[in-house]
């Protein structure tokens, strides 16, 4: 076995064009297993780890810390320890000679978000991966105040062996803002309509936070459309929720007000970058978002209590529950609410566990849905 594998600058989200190498987590000569974190990269929006897709030894660190490189640029080389150095140098030279950084126009030719009309609601979604016979598609449902980009580190990896959809819920992302929806069931009605509109007869659902509650509500409303449930820090499994977080998020109108609120989502608060805050403010300032969020929060989380309890909706469905142990929004004690579910509580992690521990979450979901 003498294959040489390249590690290249990842593309996280449709708009990423370049990334900065923060630091190497593996040294030259280290043995690498698939899924291991090799180095940390920072995009304009977020920082995360690049994971190995293969087994081997890290033979070269081509990119240096603090270097800013375009998407697709060569970062490092993995190969067996007995592969000849000259072969590796050849490959690097060839790669660098042939590499053409993607232009801004190429960003428009990659996968694009689409919209579909569900009643009066125009739903934005992104489909990645191909339909594979015998493999039901996966549908990703974000949480309160989020959008399909909350699956930045999950969407593409999970779509390697099946079609994976992610949508923006009503009142969120680029989906219609003012709908008057104030319940998980109201959101679920739109999700079921969405599944019909894009031809999803039956899908695995993965929901984060409020999106977990929506997944449960879909299972209750249309059990035949749900193959399995992957619930991450999910709503609907207990009554407690951090009311100060919800109220703070709904009312924050400036960077300074929003920053400490968003910090509660993460175990590593330095992930809350200025660009993340600016993007969130841009969303919150769209016409109708204020009232959409206030209406939802009033219906779902008034007085710091969750109004909808949906444990029973998981009955008969294969269910995976993932939680960050240190979740400051919905307590991880809710993780064991569903009898018979596969439960994974991740030590040290917070509410946005699918972003902060993407590799492990992807692995759990991938193995669970098969």
């Amino acid at each position: 076995m003498s294959a040489i594998f390249t590690v290249t600058m990842p593309k996280w989200g449709l708009s990423m064009q370049e990334g900065k190498v923060n630091l190497w987590l593996k040294e030259v000569g280290d043995k690498i297993e698939p899924g291991e974190e090799i180095l940390e990269v920072e995009s304009e929006k977020i920082s995360g780890a690049v994971e190995a897709a293969t087994t081997g030894v890290l033979r070269r660190q081509v990119a240096q810390a603090d270097e800013v490189l375009p998407v697709g640029a060569l970062l490092g080389v993995i190969a067996d320890k007995d592969v000849d150095d000259a072969l590796i140098d050849d490959l690097i030279a060839r790669f660098q000679a042939e590499f053409v950084p993607p232009s801004a126009d190429d960003a428009d030719s990659g996968p694009q978000t689409q919209t579909v009309k569900v009643g009066n609601v125009e739903v934005r979604y992104l489909k990645l991966g191909e339909d594979v016979a015998g493999k039901d598609p996966l549908l990703l449902i974000h949480g309160f105040g989020g959008d399909l980009n909350n699956w930045l580190f999950n969407h593409a990896p999970l779509s390697e062996s099946r079609a994976v959809y992610a949508l923006d819920l009503p009142g969120h992302g680029s989906t219609t803002k003012v709908t008057g929806i104030d319940s998980l069931d109201g959101l679920a009605e739109v999700v079921v309509g969405f599944m019909d509109a894009v031809g999803l007869e039956c899908a695995h659902l993965a929901g984060h936070s409020m999106g977990g509650g929506v997944s449960l509500a879909v299972a209750k409303r249309a059990p035949n459309k749900v193959k399995s449930l992957s619930l991450i820090a999910s709503a609907g499994l207990g009554s407690e929720i951090n009311g100060a977080y919800i109220d703070g998020f709904v009312s924050a109108a400036s960077r300074n007000a929003l920053k400490p609120v968003l910090a509660q989502l993460y175990s590593n608060e330095s992930l809350v970058t200025r660009s993340m805050i600016d993007d969130m403010l841009k969303f919150k300032r769209l016409e109708g978002v204020d009232s959409a969020l206030a209406t939802l929060a009033g219906g779902l989380f008034a007085g710091g209590r969750q109004s909808a309890q949906l444990v029973a909706a998981a009955a008969g469905k294969p269910t995976l529950v993932i939680w960050g142990e240190n979740d400051r929004v919905i307590p991880s004690s809710h993780a064991t609410a569903i009898p018979g579910a596969t439960v994974k509580v991740m030590p040290g992690q917070g509410h946005m566990v699918q972003l902060e521990a993407a590799g492990e979450v992807n692995k759990l979901i991938g193995e669970f849905i098969g």
Partner: protein, 336 residues
């Protein structure tokens, strides 16, 4: 992904959406409906550079061509604002403001204060500003500093399409007189702009990029030059933080102060002439508030104190360039 439109289209869309939302919003000005070169058809052109094109047909009776009499129709717009409308008056070139200073400085800006808060004047005056169009000394000035000087006026200088739309919507909804200034050279600039309506609040600077070495505060078109300069400086290992105040009145001094306290170095880039400019204003503020944090004298990159030249070669020299911004950053960075 996100939709890209031009700065000019963003302004048009803001006007269109606010006129649709609020029937009290009207547009008035020279040629805003029929326009230059019109063969007599309504809505042929939509302003001297076509910014208001299409609005006349969509909002009948609410887009009014005025005589070439700035003092007359700016006065009319201010009066209409006092009486319940939300007029957006286009003054074509900011250089023509001189003939209606009384209406703006001494009337619109003073009503709320002098009538004890009982009067409001929700008028927006839009105008083009800036050099680079070979339009000579009488059609190329910046002058935002003059309006910034007058209490009671709000002054908006967007540097990109996203801000242009959100700030114009905020300007129209604001209950005070707003001077909304559009750089001619930015009209064709493209950027991501949501199709939905949204606001950008006044007095909130944008941190265009973060950096720990030098703070660059740049106004309007100069933000884009600062970005060019910063991209070159990054190759030399110098990380610039770029701040775009977006509104010069109110001015987000907190964001500027916070940044300079961290970097210890300030370059202010302002396309207007240097005396009593935004450059001198922001420099003075930082010298007073953050003297102890400064590691080098503040650098101002401005135009020289001369009228904007007509000769192309001289006009190019007149406008602050990315190269001059780079030089200024090197100067503060290498100061010992």
């Amino acid at each position: 992904m996100a939709r890209k439109i031009t700065y000019q289209q963003a302004i048009n869309e803001a006007l269109d959406q606010e006129m649709t939302r609020d029937p009290s919003v009207i547009v008035m000005g020279e040629d805003v409906a029929g326009g230059a070169g019109s063969p007599g058809e309504d809505d042929a052109w939509g302003g001297v550079l076509g910014v208001t094109k299409g609005l006349y047909a969509k909002h009948p009776g609410r887009v009014m061509d005025t005589p070439i009499s700035e003092s007359g129709y700016i006065g009319a717009a201010v009066g209409a604002a006092c009486n319940g409308l939300r007029p957006v008056a286009e003054l074509m070139f900011i250089d023509f403001m001189g003939v209606c200073f009384d209406q703006i400085f001494n009337q619109a800006a003073k009503f709320r204060y002098m009538f004890g808060g009982k009067a409001k004047t929700p008028v927006v005056i839009r105008a083009m500003y800036g050099a680079g169009f070979r339009a000579a000394a009488q059609h190329s000035q910046c002058l935002y500093n003059m309006f910034t000087h007058v209490p009671g006026l709000k002054v908006v200088v967007p540097s990109n399409p996203y801000d242009a739309k959100g700030l114009l919507i905020q300007s129209i909804r604001d209950n005070d007189p707003v001077i909304f200034l559009e750089h001619k050279a930015l009209y064709t600039m493209e950027g991501d702009v949501p199709a939905e309506s949204y606001i950008v609040p006044f007095g909130e600077a944008a941190v265009v990029q973060e950096g720990d070495d030098v703070t660059i505060v740049a106004i309007g078109r100069m933000v884009n030059y600062a970005k060019e300069a910063a991209a070159n400086l990054r190759k030399k290992g110098i990380q610039c933080e770029i701040i775009d105040p977006r509104t010069t009145s109110p001015l987000d001094t907190d964001t500027i102060l916070e940044s300079v306290e961290r970097t210890g170095r300030l370059v202010v880039v302002d396309e207007s002439s240097p005396r009593c400019s935004m450059a001198s204003d922001i420099s003075g503020f930082i010298a007073q508030e953050a003297f102890g944090a400064l590691k080098a004298p503040i650098q101002m990159v401005t135009a020289p104190h001369v009228p904007v030249p007509f000769a192309a070669s001289l006009e190019d020299l007149y406008i602050p360039s990315p190269a001059r911004i780079e030089e200024a950053v090197m100067k503060v960075k290498e100061y010992r």
